[in-house]
Amino acid sequence: MAPIIKISHLDKFFGRLQVLKDVSLEVNSQEVVCIIGRSGAGKSTLLRCINFLEEPSFGDIEVDGLCITGGKKMKEQRELIHEIRMRTGMVFQEFNLFPHMSVLENVMEGPVTVKNMDKTSAQKIAEMNLERVGMIIKKNEYPNRISGGQKQRVAIARALAMEPKVMLFDEPTSALDPELIGEVLAVMKSLAHDGTTMLVVTHEMEFARDAANRVIVMHEGEIAEQGSPTELFDHPENEHTQALLERYRSGKSSQPMN
C-alpha cells in the first residue's frame, strides 16, 4: 500500500540558515508517527512543510498520491497545494480557533466555505465530530468561554470535519496547563485507536510511547534515529536520543517538560 505521506530529501532554509537537512520519511495509512526532539530541531518546520504553511526549499513531498516539489513557485502549484491542504488536517499549538464564530460554526466552517456543503449536512458532520471529541455540549459557546483543553479538542474536531487523509499535530499540548493536557491526549489516543493516520510533533514522551507505532527523533534538522517506541525508548542507539531521554527523565522528577 502506498504511503499517505512520502517526503524525499527535503531541505528547508530560513534565509541562510538551513533548518531541515535532507529529511526523508514515510507515513503509512493508519500509522501513528510521533516526532520528538529538542526545541529548534526542525520538527514543526517539517510538519508545516507538508501542508505548505512553510515553503519547502528542495525535495519532494507526496501526500495521498499528490506530489509537490520544493523550490518551485507556490503560484505554479496552487491547485495542488489546495488539494493537499484539503486532505490534511492540522492542529496547532495555539489552537487558532476563530474567535468570532461559535464552537459549532468553527467546525462547520471548512465544509461550508471550502467544500461548499449545504449548512444542514455540514452541521451534521460538525456535530458528529464534536461528539467524537466530547465537546458537543459546548457547541453554542464562543472560544473565549472555554478552557484551553476544550479549545484544542474543538480544533481537532474542526480539522476532522474536512475528513482528511492524515492529521498533523504541531505540539498540540504545549500551550496547555498541565491539568488540561490529559483530555487532549485522550482524544488523540481515541483517534489513533480508530485508525486515524497521524503525524504528531510532541514533547509528550508518555504519549509517544503509548500511542505511536513509530517514533522519529530529530536533531538539528536531521532525523537522528527512528524506530518502534519500545526499541527507541528502551534501547536508544543514537547519542542524541540518549541525551534527549536522559534530559526528559531527570526533568520529569523535578518539573514538567515544556
Binding site: N51, L53, H82, R85, M86, T88, G89, M90, F92, E94, N96, L97, F98, P99, H100, E109, G110, T113, V114, K115, Y142, P143, N144, R145, A155, R158, A159, M162
Partner: protein, 282 residues
C-alpha cells in the same frame, strides 16, 4: 474602618469592608468630578452673562450676548442639526468603505494597487480638508459633474476621513494573528476566503470603536462644508443669521452649544460601545 466594624451589630467580612471602601473612593471621586464640572460650566456661563463689576478704578466686564436674538433664531439654527448628522453619517459610511479598500490595497503585492493606496493617503493627508472641500465644488463642474452641495460635501469629507481611517483598518487587519490566517489556510481556504471569512470580520470588530471616534470628529469637521454655501447645516445657518442681523457671536455660540451637545450624546454611546466591544467575544 476597623472601628466601624467593631461597633456594627453584624460585623462585615474583610472582603466586604475592602469592597465598600473601594466603592466609597470611586463614588467620592465621581461626585467630586461632577461638582467640578458644574462649577466650570457655571464659570463659562458667567463669562457670557454681560456682567459689569466695578471695584474702584478697576472694571471687570464679561461678554455681552443678546439672548433675545438667540431665542428668536434658535429654531432656524437648530434645524441644521439633522443636516449635520446626516452629512456626517453618509460621509462616515463612505469613508469606512474607502478606508477598508485602502487598507486591503496596502496588503497587495501588485505594485500599481499598492501605489494607488499610498498615493491616495499621501495626497489627502498632505493637503488641508478646507481646501479639499473647495476643490470638489470648483473642479468637478469644470468636467461637467455637478453634484448637489450635500453630495459634494460627502465626497470631500468621505475621501478625507477615508485616508485617515485607512490606518485604523490597517491596524485592525494586522491585529489578526498569523495563526488565524494559517488555520484558515490549513483547512483549505483560498486567500480570498481567508480574508472574507476570518481576517476582515475580526479586523472590523477591532475597528468599530475608533470609527465611532472618527464620527464624533466628523460631526464638527462637517462645519467646513458650510463655507461653500450650498449645504444648509448647523454652521451655515448660524453664519447666515448672524451676519444678516449683526449678531455673529450669538449665532456662533448657539451653534457651538449644539455641536457640544451632539458630541456629548454620541460620546456617551461611543463609550458604551467601546465597553461592550472590549468585553465581547474577542
Amino acid at each position: 474602618m476597623s472601628n466601624a466594624s467593631a461597633t456594627a451589630p453584624a460585623p462585615k467580612s474583610q472582603a466586604d469592608l475592602i469592597y465598600d471602601m473601594q466603592m466609597g473612593i470611586k463614588r467620592r471621586f465621581s461626585i467630586g468630578v461632577a461638582i467640578s464640572w458644574f462649577v466650570m460650566l457655571a464659570v463659562l456661563v458667567f463669562l457670557f452673562s454681560s456682567t459689569k463689576i466695578t471695584l474702584g478704578s478697576f472694571t471687570f466686564k464679561t461678554i455681552h450676548i443678546d439672548t433675545a436674538f438667540i431665542r428668536e433664531n434658535l429654531p432656524f439654527i437648530a434645524s441644521g442639526i439633522w443636516v449635520t448628522i446626516g452629512i456626517s453619517a453618509l460621509s462616515i459610511v463612505f469613508a469606512t468603505i474607502l478606508a477598508l479598500l485602502a487598507a486591503l490595497g496596502r496588503l497587495s503585492r501588485f505594485p500599481p494597487i499598492y501605489a494607488l493606496c499610498t498615493f491616495y493617503v499621501s495626497l489627502i493627508r498632505g493637503t488641508p480638508l478646507y481646501l479639499q472641500i473647495f476643490f470638489f465644488f470648483l473642479a468637478l463642474p469644470q468636467v461637467g459633474i455637478i453634484l448637489p452641495g450635500l453630495w459634494a460635501g460627502v465626497l470631500a469629507l468621505g475621501l478625507n476621513y477615508g485616508a485617515y481611517m485607512s490606518e485604523i483598518f490597517r491596524a485592525g487587519l494586522s491585529s489578526v494573528s498569523k495563526g488565524q490566517r494559517e488555520a484558515a489556510l490549513a483547512i483549505g481556504m483560498t486567500q480570498g476566503q481567508m480574508m472574507q471569512r476570518v481576517v476582515i470580520p475580526q479586523a472590523l470588530r477591532f475597528a468599530i470603536p475608533p470609527t465611532g471616534n472618527e464620527f464624533i470628529a466628523m460631526l464638527k469637521d462637517s462645519a467646513l462644508v458650510s463655507a461653500t454655501g450650498f449645504v444648509h447645516e448647523l454652521m451655515w445657518r448660524a453664519t447666515k443669521v448672524g451676519r444678516a442681523q449683526f449678531h455673529n457671536l450669538e449665532a456662533l455660540i448657539t451653534a457651538a452649544v449644539f455641536y457640544w451637545i451632539m458630541t456629548l450624546v454620541f460620546s456617551y454611546f461611543q463609550s458604551r460601545l467601546e465597553a461592550r466591544m472590549s468585553r465581547g467575544e474577542r
